[in-house]
Symmetry: C2
Amino acid sequence: MDYRAAGVDIDAASRVVDRVRDLARQTFTPGVLSDIGSFGGLFQPEWSRHRQPVLVASADGVGTKLKVAFLAGRHDTVGVDLVSHCVNDVLVQGARPLFFLDYLATGRLAPDVSTAVVQGLARGCVENGCALLGGETAEMPGFYAAGEYDLAGFIVGIVDRGSLIDGSGIAPGDRLIGLPSSGLHTNGFSLARRIVFETLGLGVDTPVDELGGRIGDELLRPHRSYLRPVSRLLESSPGLVKGLAHITGGGLTDNVPRVLPSGAAARIVRDWHVPPVFGFLQRAGSVPEDEMYRTFNMGIGMVVVVAPGSVAAARALLAAAGEPGAVPIGTVVEGDRQVVYAQESAP
Amino acid sequence: MDYRAAGVDIDAASRVVDRVRDLARQTFTPGVLSDIGSFGGLFQPEWSRHRQPVLVASADGVGTKLKVAFLAGRHDTVGVDLVSHCVNDVLVQGARPLFFLDYLATGRLAPDVSTAVVQGLARGCVENGCALLGGETAEMPGFYAAGEYDLAGFIVGIVDRGSLIDGSGIAPGDRLIGLPSSGLHTNGFSLARRIVFETLGLGVDTPVDELGGRIGDELLRPHRSYLRPVSRLLESSPGLVKGLAHITGGGLTDNVPRVLPSGAAARIVRDWHVPPVFGFLQRAGSVPEDEMYRTFNMGIGMVVVVAPGSVAAARALLAAAGEPGAVPIGTVVEGDRQVVYAQESAP
């Protein structure tokens, strides 16, 4: 009996490592000192650019959006999802990404699938100026169903301690600006899949008129990275941004409070354009409104908190940075770190 | 329909976050600036201690050793495995760990299981002076069998560029010193499980005389961290260590070459004491000798490469650091970055 008979093929794994190495090299920034395949990835940031450099790290998964990728047989977008998610999670504290590592686990390694996944990761890394510094590809017989895998990512970013954004200066009267999402991003997929594939019985290739295309394409649309517009905003006008919230699992309801100091709450006025996919899911699944806002991003992937007098400047800077769709979505009020929704514009 | 009906319980998840927060706080070192629950974990190393600080990062999983934990219903050791594995992977480049993040994915969140896993992670982090800075706990209905989960880890360490260990100075004539493993560590479990649970039909609670206890306890014995003895060696005598290899998947056969420069090979003399579990698995599974050395660590968890005149000093320093079992296992010879095994001591 040997290891291959037990379901692990070290030779196949090392062929995948070769492909991964080529893809990863395309993402290497000047800070990378090592090649893929060393025990640890080596990275030397440009320390001199920072007075008091602070590292910001985050771990994330793609969640059950992966199941849609399995159904569609499309594996080159989930990597973009994951990198964008991670980049946004460090961006909200003011950090720019330095490097990313992935964990890809599967029952039996399918080299083409692994390569497609890493292609997506590499594309996401290149788009965000972030090095794909390493990772682990694990073949775990008996863990994952045939053709399935799990994918997690780890990111490290850097920010000067003086430029850290933690929301502590947010006060009643401040305004919330929402940046549009590209769709579901990577949250709410257990509910969305149940509605789409069980309740409605659709297939990934089923066209849905009101969505202007196939449901699978809509669901798989990659998570946006807000690095470019938000970092432009942070650089153009230091101090303007008082807080940033990435709208992930828990929606606006749970994520906006994460950056509010005690004594503050958010009053969100639901009058922005909600993309059709959310209404489609809500009606088809008879999902209560509150549940929608606690499960999905509802068209807002990032919230920027600014002083009332800075709204116009922030929107102009964002528009100049290629983000014309930033919209006012509410106000900071007195309260206990919660979100209160209002349907009307007037307070 | 709501998110809980779709299999995701955000309230249960937030209760787990509370427990995780308490455990993680016990690991916090002075560099930690954030609490668990922020979008990214914040860490400020003591930069002034380094001239040219380089970050060393690694991602790893526990592999199918998790299946043994599932069978035994014991979830508080796999976290120690994972942290030790990660610590060793950055240690071999000369780095000390700064912080660790985990990714824990399961079908349906069992708060007691998650807590036990994080207890193990926290214990591993405390033992290695490494902060558990954050992580992701993902509930993914339909991904994992009931009662199962996957666990991955991500570590960042730091080393001065001048103290980086990359094996480039290794030359023929250098000696290999092996540090004892505690058992299988986290590699070869797909083969070991097949032999133990399928070929032999044992249960985790079956006592095995030659192993002095239950097979499950033997298999679950945690992966050792070599941080204490190896960092003592690095600090006591800078320049003495020419290379370090962590013996993980691929065994001595595949891992020793990772630190050899071109033109060098390793001649390993198999006359150290191999712990009984390896002979037990080899006989029961009729596993060829070469396959054993390419699958399991065979009792050697870390290899230290030193100049021929430094062997005695290195062993004395290791013994003084609580590592009395370090043994000479071979010599660097001319060759093409491979391992050649010999049974006899004389070259």
